[in-house]
């Protein structure tokens, strides 16, 4: 009763559920004669996808690779660095943490038009939006993680008379990893959404957000769904990748141990 389900079931069941939804969707579109300008059938979307792989690839490169991933990488690095700096100063921690917590809860997508105004219409402004969006979750989670090592573990380091850097590298960062990955998982999904939303406020003539808004205006809803599929796919892969690395890095954490 407590044994883990087989690989097959783990993949088959969600896949089956997805296929079921697609089937119902197809039947509904055909049965109720829903115009393709409102909701195209899955088959139509698949056909569009297959016919437009070149455009989808260009958009993917622009939005995911250039906008989202660059922003994600910069934002994560900045968040980590800031957390470590803030952690060193109790004064900063006391003053900045409440502010950072507050900002982390704000609807940061709202800054998209400002970033487009500041950083131009190409991918740099999208990356900037992503940087700001992921910076705070990473900062807050890392700071929490740096507190995660127990008093005893830290006292142990003190009995060795370890330096700050030694304690950081050998104790506090490893102990913080589960928290950092928590922040990373949140950031991975935020990054795509941020990059796409920002394209609504100005972009070159490529990119997933550009394509989606343009194709809605052109009644190319099938293309919109093809882009949605690309986005969901890249988001899922990104998330899965983070989860995989997490499994490898925090293998020691009880939540990752199996059996």
């Amino acid at each position: 009763m407590r044994h883990s389900p087989s690989r097959l079931l783990q993949i088959g069941l969600p896949l089956g559920f997805g296929l079921l939804v697609l089937l119902l969707w197809q039947l509904a579109v055909q049965g109720f004669d829903i115009p393709p300008a409102i909701l195209p059938a899955p088959t139509a979307i698949a056909a569009r996808f297959a016919a437009s792989t070149d455009i989808l690839w260009i958009d993917f490169v622009q939005t995911v690779l250039k906008g989202a991933l660059t922003g994600l990488a910069l934002g994560v690095l900045a968040g980590l660095a800031a957390a470590i700096l803030i952690d060193r100063s109790p004064f900063l921690k006391r003053g900045l943490l409440p502010v950072a917590n507050f900002v982390a809860a704000l609807p940061i997508v709202g800054i998209a038009p400002i970033m487009v105004m500041w950083f131009g219409f190409d991918w740099q402004s999208k990356a900037a939006v992503v940087v700001v969006m992921v910076f705070f979750p990473i900062l807050v989670n890392t700071l929490a993680g740096l507190q995660a090592s127990s008093r005893m573990q830290q006292d142990l380091m003190r009995t060795y008379s370890a330096s700050y850097l030694q304690t950081l590298v050998k104790l506090r960062l490893p102990a913080a990893m589960p928290f950092i990955f928590n922040g990373l998982k949140i950031s991975a999904t935020l990054a795509l959404i941020g990059a796409i939303v920002a394209e609504y406020f100005g972009s070159p003539t490529r990119g997933m957000g550009f394509r989606i808004s343009t194709e809605v205006g052109r009644l190319g809803i099938d293309m919109v769904w093809a882009e949605i599929a690309v986005s969901a796919l890249s988001g899922t892969v990104l998330y899965g990748l983070v989860a995989l690395i997490e499994r490898a890095v925090t293998f020691w954490h009880p939540s990752q141990r199996r059996g």
């Binding site: 006292d155 008379s161 030694q166 020691w252």
Partner: protein
């Protein structure tokens, strides 16, 4: 066997400021521990055993009195890496293997790679854990983890060993076994050992000196010398002499104990 005091506390006071008002964790504690002594601390929960050990290790700052370790302040002694500390829970880092856990202090103190490997091998043997160096802590039983943490404290060969209820979580048999080994180690190396325990037989069996403490405020109520020779078979515990000392400790304890 008793030499110049290695640890000397005089009228030591420590008051914690908490939100419920001050807690008098140590009051007027005076104690001298000579080189090579094995001193046990026993007393009801909250009587300040841990606090006293932490003061010695410079993990806590006394609010009054004086305390010297090797003639210098605890803080200086800590910087000089004068002690190994074994906490109540094993406190191994779960992301390091047993061997890497034992290497931790060696890395920090800058031992060479070969020296590290050699010492790890030695202490693993000492605590009967050969062959487990590559395992992660959670793959070992509680007793094995505790032994690993003792090995970690032994690896860098500090003169003073401070142990805070190291065997609290173990069953009696394992405990007996580790007691024997600890005793052997002490006899061989001549380390000075401070040892906190809740078990009366353990305290009597291991120590040259038993310090009985009492809470609210935390203070020393009795210091009992244990006359047994360094080599002690387990069955001295059934001798009338042993039982008498145990009885004296038990009485001292019961006096200091409240209603629960």
């Amino acid at each position: 066997m008793t030499a110049a005091p290695v640890i000397e506390a005089q009228n030591l006071d420590l008051t914690f400021q908490t939100s419920d008002g001050p807690v008098h964790a140590l009051k007027d504690v005076s104690l001298a521990i000579g080189k090579g002594e094995f001193v046990s601390f026993i007393g009801p929960s909250g009587c300040g055993k841990t606090t006293f050990l932490r003061c010695i290790a410079a993990l806590e700052q006394p609010t009054g009195g004086s305390l010297t370790v090797n003639g210098v302040s605890p803080e200086e002694a800590r910087r000089a890496r004068a002690y190994g500390y074994v906490f109540q829970a094993a406190g191994l880092y779960p992301w390091r293997t047993i061997a890497k856990n034992i290497k931790l202090p060696l890395e920090i103190m800058g031992f060479s790679r070969e020296e590290q490997d050699r010492r790890v091998k030695d202490v693993l043997q000492l605590v009967d854990l050969e062959g487990f160096g590559g395992k992660y802590p959670w793959q070992l039983s509680g007793g094995m983890q505790q032994r690993a943490s003792i090995a970690r404290a032994l690896a860098f060969d500090a003169d003073i060993l401070l142990m805070d209820e190291p065997f609290g979580a173990l069953d009696e048999i394992v405990r007996d076994h580790l007691n024997e080994q600890l005793l052997a180690l002490w006899a061989r190396t001549g380390k000075t050992i401070g040892f906190v325990t809740h078990s009366i037989p353990e305290a009597v069996y291991l120590s040259t000196k038993i310090v009985v403490m009492s809470p609210r405020p935390g203070r020393i109520t009795d210091v009992i010398d244990s006359p047994f020779p360094p080599e002690r078979p387990l069955d001295i515990r059934d001798t009338p002499e042993f039982i008498a000392i145990a009885q004296r400790v038990r009485e001292g304890l019961r006096a200091g104990h409240g209603d629960d």
